[in-house]
Subunit: 312 residues, 2 copies
């Protein structure tokens, strides 16, 4: 039996350390611990890494403090449009959705794309039609409305007025632009899986799609490692960051830790903020980031939960 | 000065050899030669690889026999929805559009996404709004209507009726499902660029997005190589094929030819059909494929044009 391992993240766009309160920090930590528990319950009874990452990410989507599912940010038009992806390292099959609305758990819809269609990525109206045909759980708009996300949109829209280009309201709190949730797992058979989900960027326009639903950019798994990224998505797309970790291991023969750190270093060179979580078939985990913090946690063989928010 | 080089493709979904006529073959060859000429004109006067691939792909988009721009296939709903991407190997900046309508040259819109927004990928309605704001050349629906594409849709729809899942009408001619156009170039400064454009799959549903507009899957360029893929897109997404070529060179230290062939071998393992064109900074080109044919051509330093359709 392989050493089971699980890691989760709640985004690299943490609240800055000086604005964090003990009560809020406890809430975030509790959210990460519950997500780890949801995934660990699956792994512990010899369930698959696919089921584990789906369970963990579904939990994070239901938790209103992270930017995915229920806690998603608003687009420029004041809507919630969500992206998600899942990949099975055993078969390299994958499913993803972009710009879906009213779906409670986009990660579950992504898995149905993998299992019930011959496609990998469905987007927009078509993806919503598919959701309805599948019968996944839908929620009314009110379910997704959270006061702090609405305020972020208003702030970003106001900032946007004085910007000449289509930048993303840089004055908005970083949590608005770098939020994502994700999970990676190695199950007792040594198979890997990765899943990522997000509400995207506050105030996003023009049907922007980020890295989360793109296999190789924000989400990737094969026989070498499973990776879920979080950060400024455009840089993960240009760096093909999630796959870059696997490619360094497979083609360069380096360890998970070295590969993960090197891929984040490339992000830094490109001047992109973010981080990633990764796991290999030996149950090693790596959680490098170049931002001030990254909501993150992991459990390995001994069952001990480790949860952190900022760097050392 | 670096050795300039340019390669183009018109898709891995060639008409089967037994159905090809000399007259039709001459038309296809003429299309590829004209696209090479358009890109070569740029490179020859020390223009940039970005301008060269944009010129070559624009030419292929305007040519009605290839599945991109004017010759695009129809979606299940009888519409033309196009995808395109472009990447600058010098800066690793990229732009892409998915599911755009009525845009004469999607590759030019992709470049505007790169140059005028902070995003990499815009999709659907939002991307169409962006096209209107940019003032790119739009064309009425009739411009995109070609008789043979319409027949392909009717055939695929008919085949679909007897299929239980969401497969893509496998009975349709292969040209319907594997069509794409692309170009890669190395300019006299040694900088690389790649661009790809497609009308997608005949009879596609649910807002399916393929590999073409996804950086790392169907299109990629950096300081090592530039790659444009063509084939069954879902396998290029799962294999992260375009970036895999670059990763093998950078992390594994292998040559362009070996890297390109190895990445196509992975496609074959995954049971995906297709091929790719690639160029490195020394002006080497590689054009491997595992399908019956691939419309393709290249020019290197000596200015001699090479155009092929089938394997040896």
């Amino acid at each position: 039996m392989a050493t089971v391992a699980l890691a989760v993240h709640g985004g690299a766009g943490t609240i800055s350390k000086r604005r964090m309160t003990p009560a809020l920090e406890a809430e975030y930590r509790g959210g990460l611990e519950n997500a780890l528990r949801a995934g660990w319950d699956v792994l512990h009874r010899n369930g698959s890494s696919m089921d584990a990452v789906e369970a963990a990410v579904s939990w994070l989507e239901d938790f209103p403090l992270f930017n995915a599912g229920r806690g998603s940010v608003f687009t420029h038009e004041g809507r919630v449009e969500m992206d998600a992806a899942i990949m099975d390292g055993r078969t390299r099959e994958a499913g993803a959705v972009a710009s879906v609305c009213n779906v409670q758990n986009p990660v579950q819809l992504a898995r149905l794309v993998m299992e019930r269609t011959k496609h990998v990525l469905l987007a927009g109206e078509g993806a919503n039609q598919f959701a309805q045909q599948c019968g996944v759980k839908l929620q009314p708009d009110e379910y997704f409305f959270t006061e702090h996300r609405w305020r972020q949109l208003i702030d970003a829209r106001n900032a946007d007025r004085v910007q000449l280009d289509h930048s993303e309201g840089l004055e908005a709190p970083p949590a608005a632009s770098l939020g994502t949730v994700g999970a990676v797992a190695c199950d007792s058979y040594g198979y890997l899986a990765a899943a990522t989900s997000t509400g995207g960027m506050t105030n996003k326009k023009f049907g922007r799609i980020g890295d989360t639903p793109l296999i190789g950019a924000g989400t990737y798994a094969d026989g070498a490692c499973a990776v879920s990224g979080t950060g400024h998505g455009e840089y993960f797309m240009r760096g093909v960051t999630a796959y870059d970790v696997a490619a360094r291991m497979k083609h360069g023969g380096v360890s998970l830790a070295d590969a993960a750190q090197a891929s984040v270093d490339v992000l830094t060179e490109l001047q992109g903020d973010g981080g990633l979580i990764a796991v290999d078939t030996h149950g090693n985990v790596a959680l490098p980031f170049n931002s001030e913090g990254m909501y993150r946690g992991f459990v390995t063989g001994d069952g001990k939960m480790n949860v952190e928010i900022y760097g050392d």
